[in-house]
């Protein structure tokens, strides 16, 4: 490895911040915000600032497979301009089909260069799922299938970040019947690199920035939960930080979207809110620079950061459809039918008992009556 190949020759984040004309005050503001988002203590602000001041930027390769680019959109709209300007856009991103200026052969060259020059040091971000059906022809870039590209890029990565529900869980394109066999990347990664899942459709921009800043600051991946999501952002359910929660506890619910209760801002549970089953930071961080989030604008949470949310029941109902029993059937319809059938079976059995075991019952009764008679005498 030549000296040139080391990221140490790269400018630090702070140098880039200065070069872009941000003030020290802007920088500290950004650091404080990120530290808070990452759920760290106030004392960590200094640590984060120091890291950004002294650590050279980490090269990033950002791959786009089967997706809609809403993750990128969310990221560049992250509330603090430094996120888009410094972390991603101008400095760190060596390859991103959407955001880079280069295209075609040039772009592929740039990626190859980063991969060889910064082997073992770059972060691989993956947005979108990998279609494995029909030998991967559904998503090919520069003559290679997304599977091949992923394998090559992951082999030399320091860490892999799966952006969004597509890369983390397969998202909507892997919904039944999943014609392209869209597959989340954790099922495909062969290289032994740490993987961070950042699900959501899209994930919150600040969450994405937080994950990157964590990697930069501490040089290692953030603490993950059992399914591989950063605990700092995914350990609480939307329900746990929902401002409509008092209505839930009180038992006051919106029944239909245009009723009086909806106007009063009651809980959206009965119109299908998946907040109680969804792990995300929407209630705390909110969206669009902290303006609002779906529940605040009167829409139930659809559980976009949960695995299979598109197949696990309907969006605007609590009870879910039962496959194979008609669109209107849910578990309770089926249960009631089974209960009625059981009732009929039990009644039939009772009748059959009296017919088929007539002799037995007769003898028992006779025996009992006999005893009764004998007691009288």
């Amino acid at each position: 490895m030549t000296n040139d190949a080391s990221p140490n020759t790269q400018p630090t984040y702070y140098q880039e911040v200065e070069r872009k004309g941000y003030s020290r005050r802007d920088f500290i503001g950004f650091v404080t915000m990120m530290t808070a988002f990452m759920g760290l203590e106030k004392s960590a602000i200094g640590q984060v600032a120091k890291a950004l001041e002294t650590k050279p930027r980490i090269p990033v390769i950002w791959l786009h497979f089967q997706e809609c680019t809403c993750c990128s959109e969310s990221f560049i709209r992250s509330s603090h301009p430094i996120v888009a300007d410094i972390l991603l856009d101008k400095i760190s991103l060596d390859y991103s089909e959407t955001l880079m200026a280069a295209s075609g052969f040039q772009a592929e060259e740039a990626m190859k260069n980063t991969m060889t020059k910064y082997k073992g040091e770059y972060i691989l971000c993956v947005e979108g799922s990998v279609p494995t059906g029909a030998d991967g022809v559904y998503c090919m870039i520069g003559g290679k299938t997304s599977m091949q590209i992923l394998e090559e890029a992951a082999a030399g990565a320091k860490a892999v970040i799966a952006w969004g529900s597509c890369a983390s869980n397969g998202c909507v394109q892997s919904a039944k019947p999943n014609p392209t066999k869209a597959t989340p990347i954790h099922k495909l990664l062969k290289a032994n690199v740490p993987l961070i899942k950042v699900p959501g459709c899209p994930p919150i921009g600040e969450v994405m920035a937080g994950v990157i800043v964590h990697l930069v600051t501490f040089g290692k991946i953030p603490e993950l939960d059992r399914v591989g999501r950063p605990k700092a952002f995914y350990s609480k359910r939307v329900h746990d930080s929902c401002y409509r929660r008092p209505f839930y506890d009180a038992g006051l619910f919106v029944e239909t979207f245009d009723d009086e209760n909806a106007k009063k801002g009651y809980c959206l549970y009965k119109v299908g809110c998946k907040g109680p089953s969804t792990y995300n930071a929407c209630g705390v961080m909110k969206w669009n620079n902290g303006t609002s989030y779906p529940i605040q604008s009167g829409h139930p949470c659809i559980g976009c950061s949960e695995e299979n949310y598109w197949d696990n029941g309907r969006l605007y109902e609590r009870a879910s459809a039962f496959a194979g029993f008609g669109i209107e059937a849910n578990a309770d319809t089926l249960g009631k039918v089974a209960l009625a059938a059981t009732g009929v079976a039990v009644a039939a059995h009772a009748v059959a008992t009296n017919v088929r075991k007539k002799k037995l019952i007769f003898e028992l009764e006779k025996e009992g009556k006999q005893s009764e008679q004998e007691l009288k005498s």
Binding site: P246, A250, G251, K274, S277, Y309, A331, D332, G335, V346
Partner: protein, 241 residues
């Protein structure tokens, strides 16, 4: 005097269900009913109209509180029953529930023909559970397990205690809380159907056997015919020896 009663069955009192089993049974029945009732409410709460501020009432909160309190009782009661399967009498023994011997299968098949298909033949007279009942209770215990796993898995994020936290792996296995909750809901129907059939069959046995089946879960006694008693000192599906 004595020969007056000769044609009448001589019944011997057998202490079948010990007090801990009876206690377990009724606590279990009670909390399951509470769990089903509150579970239905949690799944589909009533549309209450209220003039009060949300802070003035706690309806959903209380219902869920009852569900979770009953859930803890249910869980520990279940653990206790498993324990009693090793230290209780032979009718409570774990071998009563597992189809692990040829005899067990033979008896299940026989009960199936006599009591379900209503074929004619010699009645099957067991003292504790018959093999079929034992097997159904085995399935019931599996449903208990499913309900505890999914329930505590869903409960874990609301709790700070280590015990529910032991179950955090459950939703991860099922791919998230949404599906876990649905499984929890679906398996509730097993309990409802079981309870209906079970209570019916208890009455059925009381009716066709005349040995005090219903009251056996009250006092613990069953009244077993002298002949049966002499034929087989402890007729159980998987005898201990």
């Amino acid at each position: 005097m004595a020969n007056k009663y000769l044609h009448i069955h001589r019944l011997r009192r057998v202490y079948v269900w010990e007090l801990p089993v009876r206690f377990y049974h009724w606590l279990n029945a009670l909390v399951i009913i509470a769990l089903i009732a509150t579970g239905f409410y949690i799944a589909n709460p009533l549309a209450i109209q209220s003039q009060h501020e949300a802070s003035g009432q706690y309806t959903m909160g209380w219902i869920r509180y009852i569900h979770f309190a009953a859930a803890y009782l249910f869980f520990f009661n279940f653990l206790f029953r498993l324990y009693w399967g090793f230290v209780g009498n032979k009718y409570a023994n774990w071998k009563q529930f597992l189809p692990i011997s040829k005899k067990f299968f033979k008896e299940m098949w026989y009960v199936f023909r006599m009591d379900i298909m209503m074929l004619k033949g010699k009645e099957h007279m067991s003292i504790g559970h018959n093999a079929m009942a034992g097997f159904i209770y085995f399935l019931t215990f599996i449903a208990f397990l499913v309900q505890c796993l999914t329930g505590f898995g869903l409960y874990a994020p609301m709790s700070t205690w280590w015990l529910p936290k032991l179950f955090t792996w459950v939703p991860a296995v099922f791919g998230g809380d949404i599906l876990t909750r649905q499984i929890h809901h679906w398996s509730m129907w097993f309990f409802i159907l079981f309870a209906v059939i079970h209570v019916y069959l208890v009455f059925y046995h009381d009716y066709v056997e005349g040995r005090g089946e219903i009251s056996s879960m009250g006092g613990g006694w069953k009244f077993i015919e002298e002949e049966v008693f002499e034929r087989n000192h402890h007729q159980t599906p998987n005898p201990e020896n």
